[in-house]
């Protein structure tokens, strides 16, 4: 472990924090194109965040300290999650501190704080959003864990960098268990990031929304942090997917050339992932809230199926 490892680690975090809003902007742009609308600038999420930071924060009279602390905690956990995920390189010193299971725990921490903060002011929408968010979460979390289980069994470790390294060393073959889990993972990604068909990121129709309902009482810098954290969450999920299902090209040493290639490849992969996400969102209709558990139960079953296939077929 040397200084260079740490520099790469910090570079990865900085990249995630900086690029996350761009990814959201890219998805929005693709979606607009697909829906025959004129697309907003890819930097629009940035401008939104900047605008929010400059505004005065308005907080409800009966908000507690928890309400003001939560945006920072949610943002902090998402940045920490970005530090754990091997996005550009696999030799990252901090990833020792948390493996894939701890990463799931980290995402759960963010969710719990988000939901608690939404309940803090005591509005109807806030509690409704918290309830729905936790409902999505308790189904998505085990599905994600089973996905990680399958990959861990394949790679004989739960450390994410090792998983990425070992999977990238394999030649490209269609692995049936990974195919099932990839479907499950995509479904979890859609649900966890408040995407159609589970939630609509563009909605402000109160009765159907989940993620937006949680943030209704937030304004200014708190809202900016929450939005940024949401963008980071999407970025993190995309990077988990990349690291597990299409890891080829990730830098396993810190040769500058390899790193540059790795960053470029990550960019390309995320461009495709974002476009794919926009395509899924355009092609599907939003589910009623009570159909969402069925959607996630399907994801869970797909993941379990992947696990069974993995155990049946062996190595």
């Amino acid at each position: 472990m040397n200084v260079f490892d740490w520099i790469v680690q910090l570079l990865g975090i900085a990249l995630a924090v900086a690029a996350a809003p761009v990814l959201v902007g890219w998805v929005n742009q693709c979606r607009a194109w697909l829906q025959n609308k004129s697309a907003p600038s890819i930097l629009l999420p940035y401008r939104g965040i900047r605008k929010l930071f400059h505004k005065d924060a308005v907080i409800a009279d009966n908000a507690s300290q928890l309400f003001r602390l939560a945006p920072y905690v949610v943002f902090g956990t998402m940045v920490t999650a970005a530090a754990v995920i091997p996005s550009i390189a696999t030799r990252l010193p901090f990833t020792q501190a948390a493996d894939a299971i701890a990463l799931v725990g980290l995402l759960a921490t963010a969710r719990v704080f988000l939901s608690l903060a939404a309940m803090d002011v005591g509005t109807a929408f806030g509690t409704l959003g918290a309830r729905r968010e936790m409902m999505i979460g308790f189904l998505a979390e085990p599905a994600l864990l089973v996905v990680i289980f399958v990959v861990s069994l394949t790679c004989a470790t739960t450390a994410l960098p090792l998983i990425a390294e070992r999977l990238s060393a394999q030649s490209f073959t269609l692995n049936p268990s990974l195919a099932f889990t990839a479907v499950a993972f995509t479904m979890v990604l859609l649900a966890e990031n408040a995407r159609i068909p589970v939630d609509n990121p563009a909605t402000h129709l109160e009765l159907t929304m989940i993620h937006e309902a949680l943030l209704l009482e937030y304004s200014a810098r708190h809202l900016a942090l929450m939005e940024w954290a949401a963008a980071l969450k999407l970025f993190n999920y995309a990077c988990i997917g990349v690291a597990v299902f299409i890891p080829w090209g990730i830098a396993t040493s810190h040769a500058p050339l390899g790193l540059a290639v790795s960053i470029a490849l990550l960019g390309v992969k995320l461009l495709f992932a974002g476009a794919g996400l926009a395509l899924i969102e355009t092609l599907s209709a939003k589910l009623r809230v009570f159909r969402a558990p069925e959607f996630l139960a399907t994801a869970f079953l797909f993941a379990v199926l992947g696990l069974l296939v993995r155990l049946l077929l062996g190595d």
Partner: protein, 668 residues
Amino acid sequence: MSHGLNSTLTLSLLLLTAWGMVALTGLVRPASIAFVGRTLFPLGALFGIVLAIVAAVSLDRPAERLVLPIGLPDLPVHLRLDGLSSVFLILLGAASAGVSIFAAGYFRKGEGTAPGLLCLQYHLFLASMGFVLLADDAYAFMVAWETMALSSYFLVTTQHRIPEIRRAGFLYLLIAHLGAIAILLSFGILQGGSWHFTFDAMRSAHLDSHWATVAFCLALIGFGAKAGLVPLHVWLPEAHPAAPSPVSALMSGVMLKTALYGMIRVSFDLLGQPVWWWGLVPLSLGLFSALYGVVFAAAQTDMKRLLAYSSIENIGILFTGLGLAIVFAGVGMRAAAALTLIAVIYHAMNHAFMKSLLFLGTGAVLHATGERNLGHLGGLIHRMPWVAWLTLIGVLAIAGLPPLNGFVSEWLLLQSFLFAYKVPHPFINMLLPLGAALLALAAALAGYVMVKFFGVIFLGQPRERALRHAHDAGLVERVGLAWLALGCILLGFLPTHVISLLSVVTRELNLGGLPASDAPWWLLVPIPERQSSYAPLVFFAVIAIVVALAIVSVRFFYHQRIRKGPAWDCGFGGLTSRMQDTAEGFGQPIRHLFQPFFAIVRELPSPFDSKPKYRLEIGDRIWRVLYLPLGTLVRQVADRVAWLQQGRIATYLLYSFVTLVVLLALML
């Protein structure tokens, strides 16, 4: 064998006796809150801390034995302090210390039983739990076990003037005794024809495999009844809410763990080498309990019942792990068995701290508001910040969130499930990993339940006007809560230290410790070849640094202007506290999704009702399917037998005469 004050066993015995003395001293001035509360309970807490320290010291030493010539003639009491006992004694001492400190400020006048009598029952309860852990023969074990059951029964029925509480107490006593009978029968088999009831005799007895299986099953029934394993759980959600909060904390946090201790003692120590398929029974019952408990917890409206169901969930997790450890040990995967057993005992420790903390938190809320129903609470974080923030630590811990303690043990358990595919039995090795999926589901649902618990009690707007006068817990109570919260934090932050303590137990049970790794003290690497690691301190430090950096940079680059105003609520002006989710509302998705679990009775008003009434009753299906028919059956049999009871003394004398004649005929 060492004697005198150098012997940790003698010291532990002295400390348990000291608890007994504290218990008796309570009778000196039974009505004095000042004496009992301010003097005796803190003294009990002090003895608890010393007991934990003594037990921790004894972990490094070989097992000690002691034979006390008390009790019946020719039946001396055998005591033994080994690693397994020590670990559970640490749990008992450290967790009960927090509860006792809290109790010092908690008990008030005019709550049923007089404080002195409470002190007697409470400390007798503590001492008997200690004796259960030290006992080394079946007699001593059963005496201590029954003392524990009886003293806790009296503690549960503290407010014995309320009929529901008497009923809950009776149910508890009934199931406790059914369990005790099963344990007694199990010991009867374990002695294996030698008719010596010391645990040593049982260790050396050779049982054939059928009898060993029967003994294991009886032990599972007996200890499962005490632990609240489904379907023997029905007493738990009745008794826990009925008891005063410190007692619920002790019962849930510590007493349930004595059942786990007994199960580990019987299956790994007394039975020697367990048969692998035994493990499948506690494993499947445990998984079912975990899901059942957490699903019911989500549907509760009474905060203490919610926690009681959450205890069933955690007991389920413990028994799942225990079953897995038995499977591993049975097929000779000793390293995996050691890891699993460590995870189980770790989780027992964690649960002792976090569940006690939460129960005490509900106690503080109950005292401040007089309300146990979640539908009448809300917004208490403003009135009771100490209780709220300390409870939040317990909530995050029990929801299994890193870097607190609940996560570590669940992480270890999931890691050990990753070994399950290596079990050399087809089918089983494929089904076992699915257990991990169910465990993950239960753990995620626990997060749901805890958000409901904390959110409805402490966040939002107060649902009743009276809550505006709620007061925070007193200083002494806060110290008790802080002690337990500190336990949650330390158990979460120092996993390598805890695990090195716990591996004494697995080495003693011939499973070997965890493989040595050259990782630094802050980095947990339980399975070196898997290279999975976890470092809670670093983890927490990074989150804290990012949060601090975010706060500082937002202040530096922008401004910190803040305005207060009424809640926005999408511009809707007439927001009232009635518009928040109720506890029922918050649990609604779970009721909807897990409908087959519940027996739901719903009465909806018709559109023309002038006084609409809405009633929803959520029942336990197992109660209706299993217990009610059983109760009816018992009553019918009793009715049939009742004709024997003629009420005339001559008839009864005739019965005695006939019995004697029959016995004589048999003997001769």
